[in-house]
Symmetry: C2
Subunit: 517 residues, 2 copies
């Protein structure tokens, strides 16, 4: 058995059986080994940002890692932005980065680079495996690290000679300890705070936005009067009819300041004190009110279900959670706008959908319009690195082939990793992509004003305008094998959206809308 | 004057007057400042890999830097692969990476990351400019570093508060010393070697593949019997009728071994001893023959024109260079193949063209078919990080708007940075893109065999097949505003290629060909 085969066997024996890949020459033995380890499913991406974003989507949905296969430093570089998002999402993931043979590195061949700098940039755990005898054990350690609560991005560098040399030994899975439970003191302190009757907010982050945590938090809120918020960009939030409806903290610091007005106690569960996304002249970056005390019930690494349920059993033993009732907007008609698209999605969202949300400014109205839609999972842009949405949807569809995936994309963001559509076509994934086509970096038009930058001419405006020429997403999708259509009225959009959901395989709808801003 | 304005004024005062940009919120003051410094031309890219690759193409053509504008660590991450190529090409370039305000960084907002790790990965020089009073001087230093012979990739991190705060002061250009001349001893040693009458090769690398160096090298070769080669992937080679024709070292180590058979002396001019691109089991990585002595006439940082002319004046005072005669293949007819496309390009290449070559396996026949075509510049994939070609062509066209640019792309490589087409459409650049559409990662099929990897099933083959579904490059180009056509015969290709060259603005031709391998 060579090193590559030992690595693949270790991966599948530990339950890692999907590998999103964009290989090169140094990965050819790993690729060849796929034929001898058929339990591993290889999924090809045409660009590394698709590969890493898909692994993020997969890991968020299943709470277990996929592998990626990347080609030396430059290949990893192309995947970094979505690894940044995955790390902020605490997604379990095992990246395999092929490298030159160990003896070849010192020669500084064209593709040589400092891979350590890149793995360090985006990984919670990384290692270079220089001997085939160790690759199995190293892989098992990488998987265990990836599965460490709540999930970690791990990177294992695989030199070509480790991969091709004989002597590989597969390793058994390493047991991973459960998430640690919080101390009784932490629960008691928060219970005491809740008993004061002062304005209190519970801020849910990390994995505390899933159903068990939301139900416990809702009981606590109902019994004590505390208010609930989630962090602004939850990795995967379970929501919709039958689940507690919890508002997110806003993207704009002004919104957060408003949401936290007069709050005296902020209780963190898997979250951190809120900070503004960017700094702005003469605006605060730290958004916790000055006279508010912060209490940490549970870190993001800890068992947030247990912590919230123990707290609920203490302060709300007889209180039921408040669940969202089924409620949808009317099917819209007339002009197609960010609002009518949001209404249409709320009106037509199918049961058990997965929503990948990179709609940016065009998506501001979506949380409201979908709050009472059938139960669904909502995936957000966790690290702010745009180009996440389409790859994330692709990986979520591989993870959950029986669920409909809705990929909501801003036109500007769509162009970073557009070739995700090709992988969706190849895998015949059930992804319906909606591109909000407002032909501008609308968020930057807003930000240009918010940062107080003065413009006097057209040079600045040119850089925020992505019309001239207009992008034709119907043609782009068709060029990658994804059936597509363009909607310019609400009726057209609703018809196309319903049809896309009714048919298997990927579809794309370009929703031509005016910019909200 | 705020920091951003001081930076922009310093850039244009030093002759850096094009900025390829993909900005975000933290760069809004830089963007706004474009309105107050109209000498700076902003060119928008929809993805950072386009931005950095375009700056590389610009710098290679003009031997002076363009600026880039990138959005924090994740934005820079997306541009890294082409910065890797630029660094290997020794391209002068000034990257401006917007960052969070200095006081905001410790808060670990979503887009926060270790930018130092990234700038260090790909830069010859980098710095963080934390005060508006220093930004002008820092910018002048970055430009001077970028212009240091033969060119360097520099990165200047611009925190948002440095950008927006008052107190900015523009700085004067810093004089840059000329490339150092080599010692007389080095010239004398090589002259002595050339006098031995033993088999000798001059290996030209770095900027020693430009006309003055090639003419001097040709004189030396003609007078002494030494043979000439260039390194495998020259950054910008001047070639064609009226210039000395110099063969490149091959991509495959077997080719290089053959080319260097029985060579006793290897003279390096701006180059390094040849190594194989990848390591292969049981094949050598270092390709200099065992009994060959290596002599360094000039390092890549040194004045290669002066070194070669001094050597030529010593060993070939009365010898003229051997120049390629005008000679073109016949205009091909019949089946469209890698060979007939190469013949068509050789037959029709216009005067003074710039060729961006990322045709990979499909381009193996191009050097021969174009050797006697009208004089042109040939840009190669210097760092092996695919996704270079289309951005490079885009930047070359901005640098040289009056010259025709031919962008030769493999279909696999094209999908990494395809949105370069949109920038070409926006700027109405005279770029004719030829996509060699063989629907496979053909080079990897070859490499799978060469590395000795055994495959027994279909899983490996699947990862090298980029058909299913076929990419439709005519649709993709049309979706980004670039007129496009598909050629399936040599006649169609020649007609479409001639038409594209005759019309202003960008065009794309999808050349559907069988895989060479």
């Amino acid at each position: 058995m060579n090193g590559a085969q030992a690595m693949l066997r270790t991966l599948v024996d530990s339950g890692v059986d999907v590998c999103f890949a964009n290989p090169g020459t140094s990965e050819m033995h790993f690729v060849a080994a796929l034929d001898s380890v058929p339990r591993m499913r290889g999924v090809l991406g045409l660009f590394e940002g698709v590969v890493t974003g898909a692994a993020d989507g997969y890991g968020r949905m299943l709470d277990r890692p996929a592998a990626t296969l990347l080609h030396l430093g430059p290949g990893m570089a192309n995947g970094l932005a979505n690894l940044h998002n995955a790390r902020k999402a605490h997604t379990p993931m095992v990246n395999v980065i092929g490298d030159h043979a160990t003896y070849h590195k010192a020669l500084d061949a064209p593709l040589e680079s400092d891979i350590d700098a890149l793995t360090g940039w985006c990984s919670d755990w990384s290692h270079i495996s220089t001997r085939p005898e160790e690759i199995g054990a190293d892989t098992a350690r990488a998987i265990a690290a990836a599965r460490t609560s709540p999930g970690q991005v791990t990177s294992l560098v695989l030199p070509a000679d480790t991969s091709w040399s004989a002597g590989g030994t597969a390793a058994e899975p390493i047991p991973v300890p459960a998430a640690p439970k919080v101390a009784e003191d932490a629960v008691a302190e928060v219970a005491k705070v809740l008993g004061l009757g002062e304005s209190t907010v519970l801020l849910l982050g990390g994995n505390a936005v899933r159903e068990p945590q939301l139900r416990a938090a809702s009981r606590i809120a109902a019994a004590t009067g505390a208010r609930l918020f989630t962090e602004t960009f939850p990795a995967r939030m379970e929501r919709g009819a039958g689940l507690p409806a919890v508002e997110k903290l806003g993207y704009l610091s002004e919104q957060v300041t408003y949401q936290l007005t007069d709050v005296r106690h902020l209780v963190l569960i898997g979250s951190r004190p809120p900070v503004s996304f960017f700094a702005y002249p003469d605006k605060p970056s730290e958004l916790t009110p000055a006279d508010c005390t912060v209490h940490q019930l549970a870190e993001f690494t800890e068992d947030t279900v247990d912590a919230l349920e123990r707290l609920a059993d203490r302060v709300a033993p007889d209180t039921a959670p408040v669940l969202a009732e089924a409620s949808r907007p009317a099917v819209p008609t007339g002009e197609l706008t960010a609002q009518t698209v949001a209404e249409a999605i709320g009106a037509l969202l199918p049961e058990d959908a997965i929503v990948s949300d990179e709609a940016n400014t065009s998506g501001l109205l979506l949380p409201m319009s979908t709050a009472g839609a059938p139960r669904h999972d909502w995936l957000s842009l966790t690290g702010g690195a745009i180009g996440q949405g389409m790859p994330l949807a692709t990986g979520a569809a591989i993870a959950c082939p029986d669920r409909p995936v809705i990929s909501l994309e801003a036109d500007g963001s769509a162009m970073y990793t557009i070739s995700a559509l090709w992988t969706q076509a190849r895998e015949q994934s059930n992804v319906t992509t909606v591109v909000f086509s407002n032909r501008s970096y609308a968020i930057l038009r807003m930000e240009l004003q918010r940062v107080g930058a003065e413009t006097t001419g057209t040079a600045a405006a040119e850089l925020l305008d992505i019309g001239r020429p207009d992008l034709d997403f119907v043609a782009l999708a068709g060029g990658m094998g994804v059936p597509a259509s363009r909607a310019t009225t609400a009726e057209e959009f609703c018809g196309q959206f319903s049809k896309a959901l009714a048919e298997p395989g990927p579809h794309l709808i370009e929703a031509v809308i005016p910019s909200l801003l």
